[in-house]
C-alpha cells in the first residue's frame, strides 16, 4: 500500500499530530509525481526555485509553492491522461470562471475511505429510509459542479424515499423553487420516516424564514437532520450567524443543533471537513491548513486571520497538492473547542476581494468587478 493510501485509511481521522511524518512522506511522493508528470506544475516549482527533494521536514511543507485557485481556472492542469480520470468536477464558477479538477480511480478510492470514516463519526449513515430535500442543484448532464455531486452523494447516506430539489433545471438554466420545496416539506413532515435536508445554507435559511413568516411550525419525524454545505456564495450579504440559524431551525422544524451538520470543502481541496458537535471544522488527517499573512504570504501562528492555504496529497490526477483558496480564515488550537477532538479547527471568516469600491477612472469598474467588488 502506498503512503497516501495508508494516510487515507488511518484509523482515527483527527490524529493529525500522529500522522505528520506519514503526511510529509505522502506530500513528497505526490509532489514528485506532479513534478515529473505535469510540465506546468514543474514550470511553477522551477520558477519558484523549489524541487520535491527539498521536502525534508514537516515544516518544509509550508515552503512548497501553493497554487491559487485562479491557476486552475485559467489552465487545464491534469497530470494523467484523460482516460485515467473517470471523474472530473468543476467549481461553481461564480463570476464566470471555474476550476476543472480531474480524479483518478486511486484518488476516488482515497476519497471513499475518507467519506466513510468522517461521516460515520457523525453517525450520518443509517439503514432507516429518509425523504430528502436538497437545497441545491438537481443533477443534470450539463452540470459538472462538485457541489452538485456531493449534495447528491449525501442523499446516499441512507436509503431514499423521495428527493426534492430546490434548484430545478428548466429551459437551460436553474430556477429556485422554494414554494415547491415548502409543499414537499409539509408532505414529508407527515411521514413516519425522517426528513433530511442537504445543501446551501442560504436556501435552507430562506426557506425556514418563509415558514416562520407564514407561521408554519413543524415537528419533523425523529431522526430528521439538516446537512449544510457549499457556503453562502452570492448570498454572503444575507449570511446569518450560526446561533441565529440554529434557533430558527429549532423554531420551525423542532430540530436541535445536534441534528445540524455542516460540511466544508472545495473542488480544489476535495477533503470532507465535517463539523464537530460544537460546530467547528477540525482538520482531518488527510489535510493540513496553513494560514498565511495577507501581505507577505508567510505562515501565521494559530489564532491570526489570513489567507487559507489547504494541503492534501489525496489527488494524483491534478496538482491540487497545496492550493490557496479565496477564503480568509483562522486556525484555532484544537483544545480550545472542548469537544475532545485534538486537531486544530478552521474558521472561515470571509472572502478575499475588493468591496464596494467606487470609481470613475475609465475602465476600472470592469477590473474591480472581476476582483469581486460591487461597483
Amino acid at each position: 500500500m502506498n503512503t497516501t493510501s495508508r494516510l487515507f485509511r488511518w484509523k482515527y481521522p483527527y490524529d493529525t499530530a500522529g500522522t505528520n511524518a506519514l503526511f510529509l512522506r505522502a506530500v513528497r511522493e505526490n509532489c514528485r509525481y506532479q513534478y515529473e508528470h505535469n510540465a506546468r506544475y514543474r514550470a511553477i516549482l522551477d520558477g519558484r526555485g523549489f524541487s520535491p527533494a527539498m521536502l525534508r521536514t514537516y515544516e518544509d511543507i509550508a515552503k512548497l509553492p501553493f497554487l491559487p485557485t485562479l491557476v486552475f481556472k485559467r489552465h487545464q492542469m491534469y497530470s494523467v491522461p484523460s482516460w485515467k480520470m473517470p471523474v472530473t468536477a468543476t467549481s461553481s464558477g461564480t463570476g464566470g470562471q471555474f476550476s476543472q479538477i480531474g480524479f483518478s480511480c486511486g484518488d476516488l478510492l482515497n476519497g471513499l475511505h475518507m467519506v466513510l470514516k468522517v461521516v460515520n463519526r457523525r453517525k450520518l449513515f443509517s439503514a432507516c429510509p429518509c425523504n430528502y430535500v436538497v437545497f441545491g442543484y438537481k443533477p443534470h448532464k450539463s452540470n459538472h459542479t462538485a457541489v452538485t455531486k456531493t449534495a447528491f452523494g449525501a442523499t446516499l447516506f441512507t436509503p431514499q424515499l423521495h428527493r426534492t430539489y430546490a434548484l430545478r433545471y428548466t429551459d437551460g438554466k436553474y430556477i429556485p423553487d422554494l414554494e415547491g420545496v415548502i409543499r414537499a416539506i409539509l408532505q414529508y413532515a407527515r411521514s413516519r420516516f425522517p426528513l433530511r435536508f442537504m445543501g446551501f445554507p442560504s436556501y435552507t435559511y430562506f426557506t425556514m424564514r418563509m415558514l416562520d413568516e407564514r407561521g408554519i411550525y413543524l415537528r419533523l419525524p425523529k431522526g430528521s437532520k439538516i446537512m449544510l454545505g457549499g457556503g453562502w456564495k452570492q448570498f454572503y450579504r444575507e449570511a446569518v450567524d450560526k446561533a441565529a440559524f440554529y434557533a430558527l431551525a429549532k423554531k420551525v422544524f423542532g430540530l436541535d443543533d445536534r441534528n445540524i451538520v455542516e460540511f466544508f470543502g472545495a473542488v480544489e481541496h476535495p477533503i470532507l471537513y465535517c463539523d464537530c458537535p460544537r460546530h467547528h471544522f477540525h482538520v482531518p488527517v488527510y489535510s493540513r491548513v496553513i494560514i498565511r499573512d495577507v501581505n507577505t504570504l508567510e505562515p501565521l501562528p494559530n489564532g491570526q486571520i489570513g489567507l487559507v492555504n489547504l494541503i492534501s496529497p489525496m489527488v494524483k490526477a491534478t496538482p491540487i497538492l497545496s492550493v490557496m483558496t479565496d477564503d480568509l480564515g483562522v486556525l484555532h488550537d484544537g483544545a480550545s473547542c472542548g469537544c475532545g477532538i485534538p486537531s486544530p479547527y478552521l474558521e472561515i471568516i470571509g472572502r478575499v476581494g475588493l468591496k464596494d469600491i467606487k470609481t470613475c477612472a475609465a475602465g476600472a469598474a470592469d477590473i474591480l468587478k472581476e476582483a469581486g467588488a460591487s461597483v
Binding site: 495577507v294 504570504l297 489567507l307 480568509l328 472572502r351 475588493l354 470613475c360 475609465a362 476600472a364
Partner: protein
C-alpha cells in the same frame, strides 16, 4: 425610497407615482419658474446646517465610513460663495435676464431668452456619495425639473439631502423627484427617459451605452463619462522631493479610482534607463505613502497579494518572465517599467506604470485617448512649465495641475472641459414685434 412632491414614499409606490408624474411635471412647467437665487439660498442654508453639525448623527447612522469624510469635505461646495462663483463662471452674470439684438443687416431684431432645458433625467453614478445630489443641484440651479435615478450603491444620503433642501425651501419640491429604480428595470427607465428633454448620464462605457439605448429621439444626451489622468515629469525630477512625496500620497490616497487619479507616470525621456532609475528612486516614496495610508481592509489586501502572486506563477506558465522582471514591488504597491507609451488604466491601489513620453510624442500619443483624457499632473522646471502646459492642453488634456493636486477641486472649474450649467439650458429667440 422615492422622493416626490417633497415627500418620501416606499419603493413599492413607484408605479402609482409614475402614473401621474408626467401630468404633474407639465403643471409645474406651465405654471412655475425656479430662479437660481432661490436655489442658492436654500442650499446655503442646508450647507450651514450641515457644517454646524446638525446632521452629524444622521450622517453617522448611514454607515458611510470613509464617505462621511468626503461628505463633510463636500459641504464647502454647498456655500453661497462657491455656488455664486460657479454660476457666474459658467453662465455669466444676469444670465436669465432676456437680452435683445436690435434689427440690423436688414434682419428683424430678436429677444434672446435663456430658459431651462425643461425636464432632466439624471442617471447618477455611485462613484462619489455626494454626486447624485450634486447633479440634481446643477439641474435646479438652471431651473429644470429633475428626475434623479439613484445608483444601486447609494448610501441613502441623496434622498436625505434633497428632502432637507425641499424642507428648507418648499418651492423646490415640484422640481425634484428621486427614484431608486434599478438600472435593469428597463420598462421604468424608459418611462422616466420618455419624460425627459435632457438625459444626464454619469458612469462608464456600459452606463453611457445603456442611456443611449433608453433615450427617445429628441432628448438631448449629456454624458459625463469616465476619464484617465496621468503625471508628466520633465527635467530635474530627482531633486523635487516634496513633489514626489505629494504625488505618492495622491496615488495612494485616491486608490487610483478617480477620473483625476494618476494611472501612468510619464517621463520626458526616450531612455528606458531613466525609467528604471525613476522606478528605483520613486518606489521608496510610494511605499512610505502606503505605510502611512495602508490598505486596512484585510480582504482587499489579500486580493492584491493574491493577484500579485498569481501573476508571478502565470509568468512561469506563459514564459513571460521579462515582464515580471520590470516590476518594482513594495509594500502594497508597485511600479512597472513599461516599454510602450500608451495611456492606459493602471492596476489600481498603488500599482501603476511608468512610461517614456518625450515632448514631441505627447500630442500624437495622447490623441489616441481622445474623449478619455482628464488631468495631467505636471512636474517640471519652472522655465518649461508654460510650454509643457500648452502642449498638454493642445493634446486634449482638460486640467493641468501640480502632481500633488491632481484630484483637488478648484473654484469655478469646468467639468471635463465643459460647463455643465450651459448644457442644461437653451436659448429661446423671440422675434421682436415692431
Amino acid at each position: 425610497m422615492i422622493l416626490a412632491g417633497g415627500r418620501i414614499y416606499p419603493t413599492d409606490e413607484q408605479s402609482h407615482i409614475l402614473e401621474t408624474l408626467e401630468e404633474t411635471i407639465c403643471q409645474t412647467r406651465m405654471n412655475e419658474t425656479l430662479d437660481t437665487e432661490t436655489v442658492i439660498d436654500a442650499i446655503d442654508v442646508l450647507g450651514r446646517r450641515v457644517a454646524a453639525g446638525e446632521f452629524d448623527a444622521l450622517i453617522g447612522s448611514l454607515d458611510l465610513g470613509k464617505a462621511a469624510e468626503e461628505m463633510l469635505a463636500s459641504v464647502k461646495l454647498l456655500s453661497r460663495g462657491y455656488l455664486e462663483k460657479k454660476v457666474v463662471t459658467e453662465l455669466g452674470t444676469q444670465f436669465f435676464v432676456p437680452a435683445h439684438n436690435e434689427a440690423a443687416f436688414g434682419l428683424p431684431g430678436i429677444e434672446i431668452r435663456p430658459v431651462p432645458l425643461g425636464t432632466l433625467f439624471h442617471i447618477a453614478a455611485g462613484n462619489l456619495d455626494f454626486l447624485p445630489a450634486y447633479t440634481g443641484v446643477e439641474g435646479l440651479l438652471t431651473g429644470n425639473v429633475n428626475i434623479l435615478k439613484l445608483p444601486q450603491a447609494d448610501s441613502g444620503v441623496t434622498i436625505l439631502a434633497l428632502q432637507k433642501l425641499v424642507e428648507i425651501q418648499p418651492k423646490l419640491s415640484p422640481f425634484i423627484y428621486v427614484f431608486d429604480t434599478p438600472s435593469d428595470d428597463l420598462v421604468t427607465m424608459k418611462r422616466l427617459a420618455a419624460m425627459a428633454d435632457g438625459i444626464v448620464v454619469w458612469g462608464g462605457e456600459a452606463a453611457v451605452a445603456a442611456a443611449r439605448s433608453l433615450a427617445p429621439v429628441g432628448a438631448k444626451l449629456i454624458e459625463w463619462g469616465h476619464r484617465l489622468s496621468f503625471a508628466y515629469l520633465s527635467g530635474d525630477w530627482q531633486r523635487k522631493t516634496d513633489d514626489l512625496t505629494a504625488l505618492a500620497a495622491h496615488i495612494v490616497k485616491t486608490g487610483q479610482t478617480l477620473c483625476s487619479s494618476c494611472q501612468v507616470i510619464y517621463l520626458d525621456t526616450e531612455e528606458m534607463d531613466e525609467i528604471r532609475t525613476f522606478c528605483n528612486a520613486f518606489l521608496p516614496y510610494l511605499e512610505a505613502a502606503r505605510r502611512k495610508y495602508p490598505i486596512n481592509d484585510i480582504g482587499a489586501a489579500a486580493e492584491m497579494t493574491l493577484q500579485r502572486y498569481s501573476a508571478e506563477l502565470e509568468s512561469y506558465l506563459t514564459g513571460k518572465r521579462q515582464a515580471e522582471q520590470n516590476i518594482y514591488r513594495g509594500f502594497q504597491c508597485s511600479l512597472t517599467a513599461c516599454e510602450d507609451s500608451e495611456l492606459a488604466l493602471s492596476d489600481l491601489f498603488g500599482r501603476l506604470a511608468v512610461k517614456r513620453l518625450p515632448y514631441d510624442s505627447i500630442l500624437p500619443v495622447l490623441r489616441r485617448q481622445k474623449g478619455c483624457l482628464q488631468t495631467a499632473g505636471l512636474l517640471c522646471d519652472e522655465e518649461d512649465r508654460a510650454q509643457l502646459t500648452d502642449r498638454l492642453i493642445r493634446s486634449g488634456v482638460n486640467r493641468v495641475t501640480s502632481v500633488g493636486h491632481m484630484s483637488a477641486t478648484f473654484v469655478g472649474e469646468s467639468h471635463d472641459g465643459e460647463y455643465p450649467l450651459r448644457r442644461y439650458v437653451r436659448m429661446a429667440n423671440v422675434e421682436e414685434q415692431i
